[in-house]
Protein backbone atom coordinates (compact mmCIF):
# COMPACT_ATOMS: atom_id res chain seq x y z
CA UNK A 1 0.00 0.00 0.00
CA UNK A 2 1.06 3.57 -0.71
CA UNK A 3 2.28 5.74 2.18
CA UNK A 4 -0.71 7.99 1.64
CA UNK A 5 -4.32 6.92 2.10
CA UNK A 6 -5.44 10.05 0.28
CA UNK A 7 -3.51 12.02 -2.32
CA UNK A 8 -4.95 15.10 -3.97
CA UNK A 9 -3.10 17.20 -6.54
CA UNK A 10 -4.12 20.63 -7.85
CA UNK A 11 -7.82 19.80 -7.51
CA UNK A 12 -10.27 22.25 -9.12
CA UNK A 13 -14.04 22.46 -8.96
CA UNK A 14 -16.33 25.37 -9.77
CA UNK A 15 -20.04 25.84 -9.19
CA UNK A 16 -21.60 28.40 -11.54
CA UNK A 17 -18.33 30.22 -12.11
CA UNK A 18 -17.39 30.32 -8.41
CA UNK A 19 -14.29 28.25 -7.58
CA UNK A 20 -14.96 25.97 -4.60
CA UNK A 21 -11.60 24.22 -5.05
CA UNK A 22 -8.79 26.27 -6.52
CA UNK A 23 -5.80 23.97 -6.88
CA UNK A 24 -6.06 22.03 -3.62
CA UNK A 25 -3.17 19.77 -2.61
CA UNK A 26 -3.61 17.23 0.16
CA UNK A 27 -1.63 14.26 1.43
CA UNK A 28 -3.05 12.09 4.20
CA UNK A 29 -0.45 9.62 5.57
CA UNK A 30 -1.75 6.08 6.06
CA UNK A 31 -2.42 5.43 9.76
CA UNK A 32 -2.79 9.09 10.69
CA UNK A 33 -5.65 10.93 12.34
CA UNK A 34 -5.97 13.86 10.00
CA UNK A 35 -7.84 17.07 10.87
CA UNK A 36 -9.26 18.94 7.88
CA UNK A 37 -10.01 22.53 8.85
CA UNK A 38 -11.50 25.60 7.26
CA UNK A 39 -14.27 28.14 7.51
CA UNK A 40 -17.75 27.50 6.13
CA UNK A 41 -17.52 27.47 2.35
CA UNK A 42 -13.75 26.92 2.30
CA UNK A 43 -14.12 23.75 0.22
CA UNK A 44 -14.07 20.96 2.84
CA UNK A 45 -17.30 19.22 1.91
CA UNK A 46 -16.61 19.62 -1.83
CA UNK A 47 -13.25 17.89 -1.33
CA UNK A 48 -14.90 15.05 0.58
CA UNK A 49 -17.57 14.62 -2.12
CA UNK A 50 -14.86 14.40 -4.80
CA UNK A 51 -12.99 11.81 -2.72
CA UNK A 52 -16.18 9.76 -2.39
CA UNK A 53 -16.88 9.91 -6.14
CA UNK A 54 -20.05 11.93 -5.53
CA UNK A 55 -18.74 14.91 -7.51
CA UNK A 56 -16.53 15.12 -10.59
CA UNK A 57 -13.60 17.53 -10.32
CA UNK A 58 -12.96 20.01 -13.15
CA UNK A 59 -9.21 19.45 -12.98
CA UNK A 60 -6.43 17.86 -10.99
CA UNK A 61 -6.37 14.39 -9.44
CA UNK A 62 -7.83 12.77 -6.33
CA UNK A 63 -6.66 9.30 -5.29
CA UNK A 64 -7.79 7.11 -2.41
CA UNK A 65 -5.59 4.04 -1.74
CA UNK A 66 -3.98 4.95 -5.07
CA UNK A 67 -7.34 4.51 -6.87
CA UNK A 68 -8.68 7.33 -9.04
CA UNK A 69 -11.75 8.86 -7.38
CA UNK A 70 -12.86 10.24 -10.76
CA UNK A 71 -13.04 6.77 -12.35
CA UNK A 72 -16.39 5.11 -11.47
CA UNK A 73 -15.05 1.54 -11.32
CA UNK A 74 -11.99 2.45 -9.25
CA UNK A 75 -14.08 4.65 -6.98
CA UNK A 76 -16.44 1.75 -6.16
CA UNK A 77 -13.42 -0.36 -5.24
CA UNK A 78 -12.11 2.42 -2.96
CA UNK A 79 -15.49 3.03 -1.32
CA UNK A 80 -15.72 -0.60 -0.17
CA UNK A 81 -12.78 0.19 2.09
CA UNK A 82 -14.07 3.56 3.34
CA UNK A 83 -16.40 4.32 6.23
CA UNK A 84 -18.23 7.57 5.60
CA UNK A 85 -20.16 10.03 7.76
CA UNK A 86 -21.84 12.78 5.72
CA UNK A 87 -22.21 16.40 6.69
CA UNK A 88 -26.03 16.33 6.81
CA UNK A 89 -26.18 12.90 8.55
CA UNK A 90 -28.95 11.89 6.12
CA UNK A 91 -30.17 8.26 6.37
CA UNK A 92 -33.40 6.59 5.18
CA UNK A 93 -35.86 8.32 7.53
CA UNK A 94 -38.52 5.57 7.45
CA UNK A 95 -36.19 2.86 8.78
CA UNK A 96 -35.55 2.13 12.42
CA UNK A 97 -32.04 1.97 13.87
CA UNK A 98 -32.22 -1.83 13.82
CA UNK A 99 -33.48 -1.93 10.23
CA UNK A 100 -30.79 0.33 8.80
CA UNK A 101 -28.09 -1.79 10.43
CA UNK A 102 -29.66 -4.99 9.09
CA UNK A 103 -30.03 -3.35 5.67
CA UNK A 104 -26.40 -2.17 5.57
CA UNK A 105 -24.41 -5.11 6.89
CA UNK A 106 -24.85 -7.51 3.91
CA UNK A 107 -22.91 -5.03 1.77
CA UNK A 108 -19.86 -5.53 3.94
CA UNK A 109 -18.45 -9.05 4.40
CA UNK A 110 -16.18 -8.00 7.27
CA UNK A 111 -18.97 -6.61 9.47
CA UNK A 112 -18.02 -6.60 13.17
CA UNK A 113 -20.86 -7.86 15.39
CA UNK A 114 -18.86 -7.20 18.54
CA UNK A 115 -18.38 -3.55 17.65
CA UNK A 116 -22.02 -3.21 16.64
CA UNK A 117 -23.19 -4.38 20.09
CA UNK A 118 -20.64 -2.23 21.84
CA UNK A 119 -21.54 0.98 20.02
CA UNK A 120 -25.30 0.45 20.30
CA UNK A 121 -24.81 0.31 24.05
CA UNK A 122 -22.20 3.03 24.38
CA UNK A 123 -24.02 5.50 22.13
CA UNK A 124 -27.32 4.62 23.77
CA UNK A 125 -29.02 4.15 20.39
CA UNK A 126 -32.67 2.99 20.59
CA UNK A 127 -32.97 0.00 18.17
CA UNK A 128 -36.74 0.36 17.60
CA UNK A 129 -36.84 4.11 16.99
CA UNK A 130 -37.28 5.51 13.50
CA UNK A 131 -34.47 7.55 12.07
CA UNK A 132 -36.66 10.57 11.30
CA UNK A 133 -37.31 11.17 14.99
CA UNK A 134 -33.64 10.88 16.01
CA UNK A 135 -31.71 14.06 16.81
CA UNK A 136 -28.81 15.09 14.58
CA UNK A 137 -26.40 13.93 17.27
CA UNK A 138 -28.06 10.49 17.38
CA UNK A 139 -27.96 10.18 13.59
CA UNK A 140 -24.31 11.17 13.70
CA UNK A 141 -23.60 8.35 16.17
CA UNK A 142 -25.57 5.88 14.08
CA UNK A 143 -23.59 6.78 10.95
CA UNK A 144 -20.38 6.44 12.88
CA UNK A 145 -21.45 2.99 14.09
CA UNK A 146 -22.08 1.87 10.51
CA UNK A 147 -18.83 3.43 9.27
CA UNK A 148 -16.78 1.70 11.97
CA UNK A 149 -18.49 -1.71 11.99
CA UNK A 150 -17.72 -2.60 8.39
CA UNK A 151 -13.97 -2.70 9.18
CA UNK A 152 -13.06 0.21 6.92
CA UNK A 153 -9.38 0.98 6.39
CA UNK A 154 -10.20 4.67 6.07
CA UNK A 155 -12.85 6.73 7.83
CA UNK A 156 -13.92 9.93 6.08
CA UNK A 157 -15.95 11.92 8.56
CA UNK A 158 -17.55 15.24 7.68
CA UNK A 159 -18.00 17.03 11.01
CA UNK A 160 -18.62 13.81 12.97
CA UNK A 161 -19.20 15.54 16.31
CA UNK A 162 -21.61 18.18 15.02
CA UNK A 163 -24.71 18.23 17.24
CA UNK A 164 -23.22 16.08 20.01
CA UNK A 165 -23.08 17.18 23.64
CA UNK A 166 -19.62 17.49 25.25
CA UNK A 167 -19.78 14.08 26.94
CA UNK A 168 -20.73 12.39 23.66
CA UNK A 169 -17.97 14.28 21.85
CA UNK A 170 -15.44 12.88 24.32
CA UNK A 171 -16.87 9.34 23.81
CA UNK A 172 -16.55 9.67 20.03
CA UNK A 173 -13.01 11.06 20.21
CA UNK A 174 -11.95 8.26 22.54
CA UNK A 175 -13.38 5.66 20.16
CA UNK A 176 -11.62 7.24 17.18
CA UNK A 177 -8.32 7.12 19.06
CA UNK A 178 -8.99 3.48 20.00
CA UNK A 179 -9.83 2.52 16.40
CA UNK A 180 -6.68 4.22 15.09
CA UNK A 181 -4.57 2.56 17.79
CA UNK A 182 -5.94 -0.97 17.55
CA UNK A 183 -6.61 -1.36 13.83
CA UNK A 184 -4.29 1.20 12.25
CA UNK A 185 -7.31 2.78 10.56
CA UNK A 186 -6.65 6.11 8.86
CA UNK A 187 -9.10 8.76 10.03
CA UNK A 188 -9.77 11.86 7.93
CA UNK A 189 -12.20 14.25 9.60
CA UNK A 190 -13.36 17.78 9.02
CA UNK A 191 -14.29 19.94 11.96
CA UNK A 192 -14.89 23.46 13.17
CA UNK A 193 -13.88 22.47 16.68
CA UNK A 194 -10.21 23.38 16.85
CA UNK A 195 -9.86 21.97 20.36
CA UNK A 196 -10.96 18.49 19.31
CA UNK A 197 -8.63 18.60 16.32
CA UNK A 198 -5.78 19.60 18.64
CA UNK A 199 -6.73 16.77 20.95
CA UNK A 200 -6.62 13.82 18.55
CA UNK A 201 -5.13 14.84 15.19
CA UNK A 202 -1.45 14.20 14.43
CA UNK A 203 -1.63 15.82 10.98
CA UNK A 204 -3.70 18.77 9.83
CA UNK A 205 -4.52 20.80 6.77
CA UNK A 206 -6.16 24.22 6.87
CA UNK A 207 -8.03 25.00 3.68
CA UNK A 208 -9.10 28.48 2.70
CA UNK A 209 -10.81 29.61 -0.51
CA UNK A 210 -10.27 26.16 -2.02
CA UNK A 211 -6.52 25.97 -1.35
CA UNK A 212 -4.39 24.42 1.38
CA UNK A 213 -2.82 27.27 3.36
CA UNK A 214 -1.14 25.26 6.14
CA UNK A 215 -0.43 21.54 6.24
CA UNK A 216 1.80 19.25 8.25
CA UNK A 217 2.44 17.37 11.48
CA UNK A 218 0.58 19.32 14.17
CA UNK A 219 3.30 19.08 16.82
CA UNK A 220 5.89 20.28 14.28
CA UNK A 221 3.70 23.24 13.33
CA UNK A 222 3.33 24.13 17.01
CA UNK A 223 7.08 23.95 17.47
CA UNK A 224 7.64 26.25 14.48
CA UNK A 225 4.98 28.85 15.19
CA UNK A 226 5.74 31.28 18.00
CA UNK A 227 4.65 34.68 19.15
CA UNK A 228 7.20 37.29 20.20
CA UNK A 229 6.36 40.23 22.39
CA UNK A 230 8.88 43.01 21.92
CA UNK A 231 9.28 46.20 23.88
CA UNK A 232 11.23 48.86 22.00
CA UNK A 233 13.15 51.81 23.36
CA UNK A 234 11.49 54.22 20.96
CA UNK A 235 8.39 54.04 18.80
CA UNK A 236 10.46 54.76 15.73
CA UNK A 237 12.62 51.66 15.90
CA UNK A 238 12.18 49.61 12.73
CA UNK A 239 10.00 46.49 13.17
CA UNK A 240 11.03 43.15 11.71
CA UNK A 241 8.30 42.89 9.08
CA UNK A 242 10.64 41.66 6.37
CA UNK A 243 12.60 39.04 8.26
CA UNK A 244 12.17 35.46 7.01
CA UNK A 245 9.48 33.59 8.97
CA UNK A 246 7.53 36.63 10.13
CA UNK A 247 3.84 36.15 9.40
CA UNK A 248 2.20 39.09 11.06
CA UNK A 249 3.31 42.18 12.97
CA UNK A 250 1.19 44.42 15.12
CA UNK A 251 2.62 47.51 16.78
CA UNK A 252 1.11 49.72 19.42
CA UNK A 253 3.42 52.45 20.61
CA UNK A 254 6.59 50.83 21.88
CA UNK A 255 5.21 47.29 22.05
CA UNK A 256 5.23 44.98 19.05
CA UNK A 257 3.61 41.58 18.73
CA UNK A 258 5.05 39.28 16.09
CA UNK A 259 3.65 35.96 14.90
CA UNK A 260 6.31 33.84 13.24
CA UNK A 261 6.13 30.51 11.43
CA UNK A 262 9.83 29.70 11.78
CA UNK A 263 13.33 31.18 11.89
CA UNK A 264 12.90 32.05 15.59
CA UNK A 265 16.63 32.43 16.05
CA UNK A 266 16.99 34.87 13.15
CA UNK A 267 14.07 36.93 14.38
CA UNK A 268 15.44 37.12 17.93
CA UNK A 269 18.84 38.14 16.57
CA UNK A 270 17.22 40.88 14.51
CA UNK A 271 15.26 42.19 17.50
CA UNK A 272 18.25 42.09 19.81
CA UNK A 273 20.20 44.19 17.33
CA UNK A 274 17.78 47.03 18.04
CA UNK A 275 19.13 49.19 20.88
CA UNK A 276 17.35 48.64 24.18
CA UNK A 277 14.78 46.16 22.80
CA UNK A 278 13.61 43.31 25.01
CA UNK A 279 11.89 40.21 23.71
CA UNK A 280 9.76 37.45 25.19
CA UNK A 281 8.36 34.45 23.38
CA UNK A 282 5.15 32.47 23.76
CA UNK A 283 3.89 29.20 22.31
CA UNK A 284 1.11 29.44 19.73
CA UNK A 285 -1.92 27.14 19.60
CA UNK A 286 -3.84 25.93 16.58
CA UNK A 287 -6.51 28.59 17.05
CA UNK A 288 -4.02 31.41 16.54
CA UNK A 289 -2.50 29.73 13.49
CA UNK A 290 -5.97 29.14 12.06
CA UNK A 291 -7.16 32.72 12.59
CA UNK A 292 -3.95 34.13 11.17
CA UNK A 293 -4.22 32.00 8.04
CA UNK A 294 -7.89 32.37 7.22
CA UNK A 295 -8.33 36.01 8.18
CA UNK A 296 -5.26 37.50 6.55
CA UNK A 297 -7.44 39.76 4.36
CA UNK A 298 -9.14 41.16 7.42
CA UNK A 299 -6.20 42.14 9.55
CA UNK A 300 -7.91 45.39 10.40
CA UNK A 301 -10.39 43.39 12.48
CA UNK A 302 -7.86 41.38 14.45
Amino acid sequence: MSDFAIEVNALRKSFGGRAALDGLDLRVPAGSIFGFLGRNGAGKTTTIKVLMGMLRADGGAARVFGLDAGDPAQSVEARRRIGFVTEDKELYPYMTVEQIIRFTRPFFPKWRDDLERRYLKMFDLPPKKKIDILSKGMRSKLMLLIAVCHSAELLILDEPTDGLDPAAVEDVLRELVAIAGSQGTTIFFSSHQLNEVEQIADNICIVDKGRAVVAGVLDDLKARYQRFHVVLESELAAPVRWVDGVEHVRQEGRTVSILASGNAEGIVRQIESLPGASVERFPVGLKEIFLEKVRSDENALV
Binding site: G31, E170, V177, Q199, A201, L218, D219, K222, Y225, G285
Partner: protein, 129 residues
Amino acid sequence: MILRVNQSSGIPLYLQVMEQVKHAVETGALRSGDQLPTIRKLAEDLVMNPNTVARAYRELEHEGVIELRHGSGAYISESVGWNSKITRKAQAVVQSAVERLVASGLSGSEIRRLVENELAMLRDGADHE
Protein backbone atom coordinates in the same frame (compact mmCIF):
# COMPACT_ATOMS: atom_id res chain seq x y z
CA MET B 1 1.00 7.37 36.62
CA ILE B 2 -1.40 10.25 36.11
CA LEU B 3 -0.67 12.46 33.12
CA ARG B 4 -2.55 15.51 31.94
CA VAL B 5 -2.06 17.35 28.69
CA ASN B 6 -3.34 20.72 27.65
CA GLN B 7 -4.05 20.49 23.94
CA SER B 8 -4.55 24.19 23.36
CA SER B 9 -1.44 25.48 25.13
CA GLY B 10 0.59 25.65 21.92
CA ILE B 11 3.25 23.33 23.38
CA PRO B 12 3.59 20.19 21.24
CA LEU B 13 1.70 17.33 22.90
CA TYR B 14 4.56 14.83 22.61
CA LEU B 15 6.78 17.30 24.51
CA GLN B 16 4.13 17.63 27.23
CA VAL B 17 4.02 13.84 27.65
CA MET B 18 7.84 13.68 27.73
CA GLU B 19 8.09 16.46 30.34
CA GLN B 20 5.53 14.78 32.58
CA VAL B 21 7.24 11.41 32.47
CA LYS B 22 10.57 13.07 33.27
CA HIS B 23 8.97 15.05 36.08
CA ALA B 24 7.49 11.85 37.52
CA VAL B 25 10.97 10.33 37.48
CA GLU B 26 12.52 13.38 39.14
CA THR B 27 9.95 13.45 41.93
CA GLY B 28 10.26 9.69 42.42
CA ALA B 29 6.70 8.93 41.31
CA LEU B 30 8.29 6.65 38.73
CA ARG B 31 11.39 4.58 39.54
CA SER B 32 13.84 2.47 37.57
CA GLY B 33 12.14 -0.63 36.23
CA ASP B 34 8.59 0.74 36.57
CA GLN B 35 6.39 -0.08 33.62
CA LEU B 36 4.63 2.65 31.65
CA PRO B 37 1.20 2.10 30.10
CA THR B 38 1.18 0.78 26.55
CA ILE B 39 0.92 3.33 23.75
CA ARG B 40 -2.67 2.31 23.05
CA LYS B 41 -3.70 2.44 26.69
CA LEU B 42 -2.18 5.86 27.28
CA ALA B 43 -3.67 7.19 24.03
CA GLU B 44 -7.13 6.05 25.09
CA ASP B 45 -6.75 7.31 28.67
CA LEU B 46 -5.65 10.76 27.56
CA VAL B 47 -7.85 10.71 24.43
CA MET B 48 -4.89 11.61 22.27
CA ASN B 49 -3.34 10.29 19.10
CA PRO B 50 -1.45 6.98 19.45
CA ASN B 51 1.18 8.24 16.97
CA THR B 52 1.83 11.22 19.26
CA VAL B 53 2.27 8.95 22.30
CA ALA B 54 4.58 6.74 20.23
CA ARG B 55 6.67 9.77 19.32
CA ALA B 56 6.98 10.79 22.99
CA TYR B 57 8.09 7.25 23.92
CA ARG B 58 10.63 7.13 21.07
CA GLU B 59 12.14 10.46 22.16
CA LEU B 60 12.21 9.37 25.81
CA GLU B 61 14.00 6.21 24.75
CA HIS B 62 16.44 8.26 22.71
CA GLU B 63 17.19 10.38 25.80
CA GLY B 64 17.71 7.24 27.87
CA VAL B 65 14.78 7.86 30.22
CA ILE B 66 12.88 4.74 29.20
CA GLU B 67 13.58 1.43 27.53
CA LEU B 68 11.24 -0.02 24.95
CA ARG B 69 11.22 -3.81 25.15
CA HIS B 70 9.76 -5.46 22.13
CA GLY B 71 6.39 -6.98 22.87
CA SER B 72 6.34 -6.14 26.57
CA GLY B 73 6.18 -2.38 26.65
CA ALA B 74 8.04 0.60 28.07
CA TYR B 75 10.02 0.68 31.30
CA ILE B 76 11.88 3.41 33.19
CA SER B 77 15.60 2.91 32.53
CA GLU B 78 17.97 1.46 35.11
CA SER B 79 20.24 4.48 34.70
CA VAL B 80 17.80 7.19 35.74
CA GLY B 81 18.84 7.01 39.42
CA TRP B 82 22.00 8.70 38.33
CA ASN B 83 19.94 11.42 36.72
CA SER B 84 18.01 12.15 39.90
CA LYS B 85 21.28 12.72 41.83
CA ILE B 86 22.07 15.46 39.32
CA THR B 87 18.56 16.78 39.82
CA ARG B 88 19.08 17.04 43.57
CA LYS B 89 22.28 19.05 43.06
CA ALA B 90 20.54 21.26 40.51
CA GLN B 91 17.77 21.91 42.98
CA ALA B 92 20.25 23.55 45.34
CA VAL B 93 21.46 25.82 42.53
CA VAL B 94 17.92 26.80 41.58
CA GLN B 95 16.99 27.36 45.21
CA SER B 96 19.73 29.91 45.81
CA ALA B 97 19.06 31.66 42.48
CA VAL B 98 15.35 31.95 43.23
CA GLU B 99 16.02 33.25 46.73
CA ARG B 100 18.24 35.99 45.32
CA LEU B 101 15.70 36.95 42.65
CA VAL B 102 12.88 37.13 45.20
CA ALA B 103 15.11 39.27 47.44
CA SER B 104 15.63 41.64 44.50
CA GLY B 105 11.87 42.16 44.33
CA LEU B 106 10.77 39.95 41.41
CA SER B 107 7.46 38.08 41.63
CA GLY B 108 7.03 34.35 41.15
CA SER B 109 5.45 34.73 37.73
CA GLU B 110 8.20 37.09 36.59
CA ILE B 111 10.87 34.59 37.63
CA ARG B 112 9.00 31.75 35.93
CA ARG B 113 8.76 33.77 32.73
CA LEU B 114 12.44 34.65 32.75
CA VAL B 115 13.46 31.02 33.23
CA GLU B 116 11.10 29.73 30.55
CA ASN B 117 12.31 32.37 28.15
CA GLU B 118 15.94 31.36 28.75
CA LEU B 119 15.07 27.70 28.17
CA ALA B 120 13.22 28.50 24.95
CA MET B 121 16.19 30.52 23.66
CA LEU B 122 18.54 27.66 24.57
CA ARG B 123 16.35 25.08 22.86
CA ASP B 124 16.27 27.10 19.65
CA GLY B 125 20.01 27.61 19.71
CA ALA B 126 20.51 23.86 20.10
CA ASP B 127 18.11 23.12 17.23
CA HIS B 128 20.35 24.99 14.85
CA GLU B 129 23.62 23.40 15.80
